[in-house]
Symmetry: C3
Subunit: 213 residues, 3 copies
């Protein structure tokens, strides 16, 4: 029950982030609803299709779609009056990433898949929604750029979760520690500018500076 | 039988629209065939995969691929000689959207899924092909922009179809009315500039005017 | 056993090409790993999902992911010191395309699907990974542009493979000839500038010259 509520909370948070991005791109009201939905359910949908889990979670339980529409509507109403508070959004987004990464990893674990697949499924569940959001907005996905540590945080959190269990920690504290790892890395990336190294291909193409984006 | 012919007609129309877009992007002949195919079968394929309907419709019945290749070939031959008639294309495209939206909704209905899922599946079936076409062309999907009412028309049409049935209308007239709703909204958007509201995020980013596109 | 090794070789080659593209886009280390993985397994994953083959090949056998990570790591280490040899990469990439196209066609053939579906599945298996790589990098997919003959080579190779079998050639020599066709067309496109025709839509839009890209 708690897990289900946390899952709905993660869906709501991602719907808010999708709605804000779509509004900035000047999509219309239903375009905003579409982007909010894709951001919120994209990762879990790809996970379910890859693992052959049918019906897909939001087809089985339409409460997810109701939560998304509610969250997107509130976001739109809020944005009519005020600028969305960027910092709180980033923190909520980090929580959503953490929740989805660990719940995605647990789904793969319950199917007795090898550890590397568990990490991959957690990462897909956590980050594919944001990736689809950026692709639909025709942007280079933030998920993959150096400024974000997005996929990185998911991979690290899912790995932490698995390693702790392997050394004998129970599932619940391992899951909580995994989530804290995700949130911690994301916030460190955002507030203390923690970065992974970038490799420059020694090429003409990279000698041109990127335009600031 | 009539439904099947209408379905093939929808596939042909979307193949034409994909071929025109691909030719404008200067894709080569097989690139045009690929884009025409993705546009025509993308929505139905995603619907079938999400609903676990196997084999996917065009794998089960290769007539769809034959129709797509025929339509794309005729389009290419036509474009060598003349500018494609934009208005007729838009009308045909609205018809294709209407056909696919209602047939997608009916597929979900036949699986006894809740109403909101029926609307979502109709919308996906109708509009995902055009969305994939735009993503492959690295454009912000027209489906989502305010100038289009594309997803909006699909959502409204599928909802009309469901509401009419809920108040006792038979399936066939409900389907026809749903299709008329889709076509009407699309053409109103195109010819009378009907628009859904756009929310401006109160942000620096949106103070810059969009380049005309 | 040989086929399996060839398959792993194809995965490694595509991982290298994904890693180079991602490094040029200045993705961070895990972004490079993500793009390398998507490039290497994207085509086969879409094939497996469309054909309802579960578990998907890399979920069933994590050796694929290990090979990808190894290949991406070696690529990154190499790029720190030297410019990657473009010519050898293109040749290896053509080999990977050839291997994946024919192995994808064989999977569809083993399911007794009609010839056109076999060709489509070979083409998807061979080229969808590179297409996803370009979409994630927010580029117009090279796969579809005239400078590449990428999908074209896959379609031609898979067709050759089928036609040879239809006229009585055994499966193995037909497969080898199909692969040679793919590699030959790709290299002819690269080194002798072989091109398919481009159709110009007789439109204002195409009178503007494309920016060099």
């Amino acid at each position: 029950m708690l897990l289900y509520l946390l899952d709905l909370f993660g869906v709501a948070v991602f719907a808010v982030s999708g709605a804000i991005v779509a509004a900035r791109k000047r999509f219309d009201l239903l375009g905003i609803a579409v982007i909010a939905t894709v951001t919120a359910i994209g990762g879990g949908t790809i996970r379910d299709v890859l693992l052959n889990r049918h019906p897909v979670f939001w087809i089985k339980d339409p409460a997810y779609l109701a939560v998304i529409l509610g969250a997107a509507t509130l976001t739109v109403v809020y944005m009519v009056f005020r600028k969305p508070p960027q910092v709180w959004l980033l923190i909520a987004d980090a929580l959503g990433l953490a929740l989805f990464t660990i719940s995605g990893a647990q789904v793969a674990e319950d199917q007795h898949l090898p550890g590397v697949i568990v990490v991959v499924m957690g990462t897909i569940t956590g980050s594919a929604g944001g990736l689809l959001r950026d692709v639909l907005g025709a942007e280079v996905p933030l998920v993959l750029r150096q400024t974000d540590l997005y996929a990185t945080a998911a991979i690290a959190g899912a790995t932490t979760y698995l390693v702790l269990q392997a050394v004998g920690v129970d599932r619940t504290p391992a899951a909580l520690t995994g989530m804290v790892t995700v949130v911690g890395l994301r916030l460190a990336a955002i507030f203390w500018k923690l970065r992974l190294p970038v490799v420059f291909a020694p090429d003409d193409e990279v000698r041109k500076p990127d335009p600031p984006s």
